[in-house]
């Protein structure tokens, strides 16, 4: 397998739209040719080599090509878009649309990823070791065909609208999920190892959602049908099985109605919190070291609540309420 190493040489002033960073495009190209591929920033067109130092050449086919981005690509969109094979490894963060419309191969992001990662994906594997934002594995705006195959694994937390219109494949979330998980789903499987906030499976027709840390607020259109034992990671667990969304149409197979199912771990959390029932929100607080880092980041500035909230989400991986953030800002000022 040939390895192409991209080392960020310049931080883009705006955001780079670079759908060419993909084994399918790099295959069969020399480092010179790869460097000449175009990228867009705003309404201007640049060359890839304006922002990256390129070493190595592409393999004969996409499957023989591995791309390593050795630094932060937090301002680079569309990495691995429509890729069908090969491998991409990003040692830092990535911006939106990582692995969008991906059909095969493997992408590993060591840092965080922004929204729309893996949208309308049909195959392959996308791993994000940090957090990811909204609309992961969802459908393109307006479309009804979300993720249809492949695997997305996110070690950290995710934002809202993950798995919207999903109808195949697997999304495995290591942390918590914000609202609107699997809206309008028509198949597929989602595992949330942390807590799912609420509005899970709205307008869901088919598909399975496993929530190990409980659902904060279950939709009224889901009904608890029975308890069931299921295996996750080789461990047997008891789940309460909810059927829904009862407000939607549902198909039949062998005379039985097929529902979307939400499996809520009966005793998922070690502190013994009851699943299924509305669970008190987990209190998150910054430790002193984090507060010091925050104070340093905004020294001399007058940040808005939303800016600080975003910074906390990006840096520490959890979401505070605006009121908490506001109090925090006051405390730091004092």
């Amino acid at each position: 397998m040939d390895v192409v190493k991209l080392t960020p040489s310049k931080v883009p002033e705006l955001y780079l739209e670079s759908e060419h960073i993909s084994p399918d495009v790099f295959a069969g190209k020399s480092s010179q040719e790869i460097g000449d591929l175009h990228v867009h920033m705003g309404n201007q067109t640049y060359k890839l080599s304006d922002f990256f130092t390129i070493e190595g050449k592409g393999g004969a086919t996409a499957a023989d090509t591995k791309i390593v981005i050795t630094g932060d690509a937090g301002r680079v969109k569309y990495i691995g878009m429509k890729m069908t094979g090969g491998e991409i490894e990003v040692l830092g963060n990535t911006d939106m649309y990582t692995g969008a419309w991906m059909a095969g191969g493997k992408i590993t992001v060591r840092g965080n990823s922004d929204s729309f990662a893996g949208i309308a994906m049909t195959g392959g594997e996308l791993r994000i070791e940090g957090n990811a934002r909204n609309y992961i594995g969802a459908a393109y705006r307006g479309d009804w065909r979300g993720m249809q195959g492949g695997t997305i694994v996110i070690r950290g937390n995710v934002g809202s609208d993950v798995g919207s219109n999903m109808n195949g494949g697997l999304i495995d979330i290591g942390g918590d999920a914000d609202v609107h998980l699997a809206t309008h789903a028509d198949g597929g499987k989602i595992i949330v190892r942390g807590v799912a906030k609420g509005r899970v499976g709205g307008q869901m027709v088919k598909g399975d959602i496993y929530v190990l840390g409980g659902v904060e607020r279950m939709m009224p259109s889901f009904r608890c049908d029975h308890e069931e034992e299921a295996e996750i990671d080789g461990k047997k667990m008891t789940f309460q099985v909810f059927y829904g969304d009862l407000g939607e149409r549902h198909g039949k197979r062998k005379g039985e109605i097929i529902y979307g199912k939400i499996f809520v771990a009966a005793a998922g959390k070690p502190d013994g919190q009851k699943a299924g029932a509305a669970k008190s929100e987990r209190r998150v607080k910054l430790n002193e070291k984090q507060i010091a880092q925050l104070a340093e980041a905004f020294r001399g500035a007058e940040p808005t609540v939303q800016e600080v909230r975003t910074y906390i989400f990006d840096t520490f991986g959890f979401d505070l309420k605006p009121m908490q953030v506001s109090r925090l800002i006051d405390a730091i000022k004092r």
């Binding site: 459908a139 393109y140 307006g142 479309d143 009804w144």
Partner: protein
């Protein structure tokens, strides 16, 4: 203006009866002429086919529902954008392209006149704003009359003079071209949660039947002598077994002769007949009734029709047939937009995927082609896709391929997943007719132009006619593969529109000089209709009368066809 001479092309022109003769075509001052001076620019067409610019009789290309389609289907534009060029603006979209793409793509296929098939009068301003933004092609728009309260009331009371006065007023107010009728009565019944499934189902409250509405408007149209006949999309669209409703509708025109001074011979144009030619009583027994429908059309010279061919693409259905769109969304569970247009009509939009692996879709595909192949008089049967309902207009070249090559049709038929069932439910496998280029010119040029009452302007290459000419890199005698047909018609070699070269080797070189056609039908002053209009606006409409009329600045380059019915 410039002069052109198109040299040594093989000319196909039903208007002058030229069937593939090598001839020069001369263009001067926007018209076809006998001779040009030696300064004329010469375009070499040796070994190429020369035809008049094509005329589109029915497409949804401008207005609120097209725009709502664009609005609520961002996925239709995904990956389809093309940046602007020297003579073009940015364009994109597939089944519901931007206005600019609409103009460019029609022109590239050699189409120079296009009729927008359904204009809700209340939103006529929007229709004309989009028409204004569609470059190159001449356009007209048909306001919808089939669910209009004025029409219902006047017809119910048998007040034909008032119907005519109202038609005249609405055509002028909306800058409209012809009388469009969509699911007569049914779209209004939808306001009561009902529909009219046969032409004899009464409309709730108004107590008038679709048959009475169509017959009344037909009579008014002929009394007024408008350029086009009534343009009908009848009840019961898209349902198995609906061909009987279709034949009942056709029979409304039986024996009636056209009266007009535009050379039009039909009194009824029925649109997208493919959607109205279904047999069977469920989706399981769904079958083609193209033969029964075409037997009637072939035997009755006073009607014309267009096909509405399914192209087996992912598209966006949109029609003023509100109840049908609701029916469709319950079938495919995709997103649905719907609106009630006050006293005039309703409308709906649903995306649709015509999947060749689904039996019904494949049968629909076959029916569209059968209709054309059964046609005895190509001057009365026109190629359309009811864009975008059965497929986008950009697929016309593919339909030409299927019509002109039996081999390409049979290959498609054999390739379907449910091939046996499709062949059993249709006659397409046994139809080996291949449409000739001359017949194609009748179906896409001379025929539609005549049906629209525009035969003296469009669709032909006789001296004095509009200089709309298309040259294709296509030689009927030397077709190596059916794909050549599609390729040649997708991208014309040259297109001249009103004497301006707009397409050169498939590239847009000019934005032409587009016009909007509308009909100004003069009737005697009718104070009752004037008063009724004012009353309805005061009582029911959400807008003021002054905010309703399409004033002149919406139509910057009009071509007015005057009809005097005094």
């Amino acid at each position: 203006m410039s002069e052109y001479i198109i040299k040594n092309g093989t000319v196909y022109d039903p208007k002058t009866g030229v069937k593939g003769e090598v001839k020069d075509i001369c263009v001067k001052d926007g018209k076809i002429v006998e001779k040009v001076s030696s300064k004329a620019k010469s375009l070499d067409a040796k070994g190429k086919s020369v035809m008049a610019g094509a005329v589109e009789v029915h497409a949804h290309v401008a207005g609120p529902k097209v725009n709502e389609g664009r609005n609520y289907r961002p996925e239709d534009k995904l990956f389809s954008y093309k940046p602007g060029g020297k003579n073009t603006r940015m364009s994109g979209g597939f089944s519901i392209p931007t206005t600019f793409k609409t103009g460019y793509e029609y022109a590239r296929m050699g189409y120079t006149t296009v009729m927008e098939a359904a204009m809700p009068p209340l939103y006529a301003r929007h229709v004309h704003e989009e028409i204004k933004d569609t470059p190159i092609i001449d356009e007209g728009a048909f306001p919808v009359f089939g669910n209009n309260w004025f029409v219902f009331e006047y017809l119910k009371n048998n007040e034909m003079d008032n119907v005519m006065a109202y038609i005249s007023w609405l055509l002028k107010t909306t800058r409209g071209y012809a009388i469009k009728i969509v699911n007569p009565g049914g779209s209004e019944a939808w306001g009561w949660g009902e529909n009219c499934n046969t032409i004899h189902d009464p409309v709730p409250y108004f107590d008038i039947t679709p048959a009475e509405i169509m017959k009344g408007l037909l009579t008014a149209n002929e009394k007024m002598g408008l350029p086009h006949s009534i343009h009908v999309h009848t009840n019961n669209l898209g349902n198995p077994g609906n061909y009987e409703t279709t034949l009942d509708t056709f029979k409304l025109s039986q024996g009636i002769k056209a009266t007009n001074k535009f050379g039009r011979e039909q009194v009824l144009h029925h649109t997208h007949v493919q959607f109205h030619s279904y047999g069977g009583d469920s989706w399981a027994t769904f079958e083609s009734k193209a033969k029964d429908v075409m037997d009637y059309v072939n035997a009755n010279k006073n009607m014309t029709m267009d096909l509405g061919c399914v192209t087996l693409d992912e598209t966006t259905t949109m029609t003023a047939d509100g109840p049908f769109e609701h029916h469709l969304t319950t079938l495919n569970h995709l997103k649905w937009a719907n609106v009630d247009v006050e006293l005039e009509t309703s409308s709906g939009i649903v995306p649709y995927v015509y999947d060749p692996n689904i039996k019904v879709c494949a049968i629909q595909w076959a029916i569209g082609l059968e209709l054309a192949l059964y046609a005895k008089d190509p001057m009365r049967v026109f190629v359309t896709t009811d864009h975008p309902n059965a497929g986008p207009f950009t697929r016309y070249p593919r339909i030409f391929k299927w019509l002109m090559s039996n081999a390409s049709r049979q290959e498609m038929l054999k390739g379907f997943k449910n091939s046996d069932k499709v062949i059993a439910a249709t006659d397409l496998a046994s139809l080996d007719r291949e449409i000739t280029l001359y017949e194609l010119a009748q179906m896409t040029r001379a025929g539609p132009a005549k049906s629209l009452g525009l035969e003296s302007m469009y669709g032909g290459l006789a001296p004095g006619m509009e200089a709309d000419v298309a040259v294709y890199d296509f030689d009927e005698g030397k077709v190596a593969s059916p794909e050549d047909i599609e390729k040649a018609f997708s991208s014309a070699e040259y297109v001249i529109k009103s004497g301006t070269l707009v397409v050169d080797h498939g590239e847009i070189v000019s934005n032409g000089n587009k016009r909007t056609l509308w009909v100004d039908a003069k009737v005697p002053v009718n104070s009752q209709v004037e008063r009724d209009v004012q009353m309805k606006f005061l009582k029911y409409y959400s807008v003021n009368l002054n905010n309703y009329e399409v004033s002149d600045h919406y139509v910057p380059n009009p071509y007015v066809i005057e009809v005097d019915t005094n």
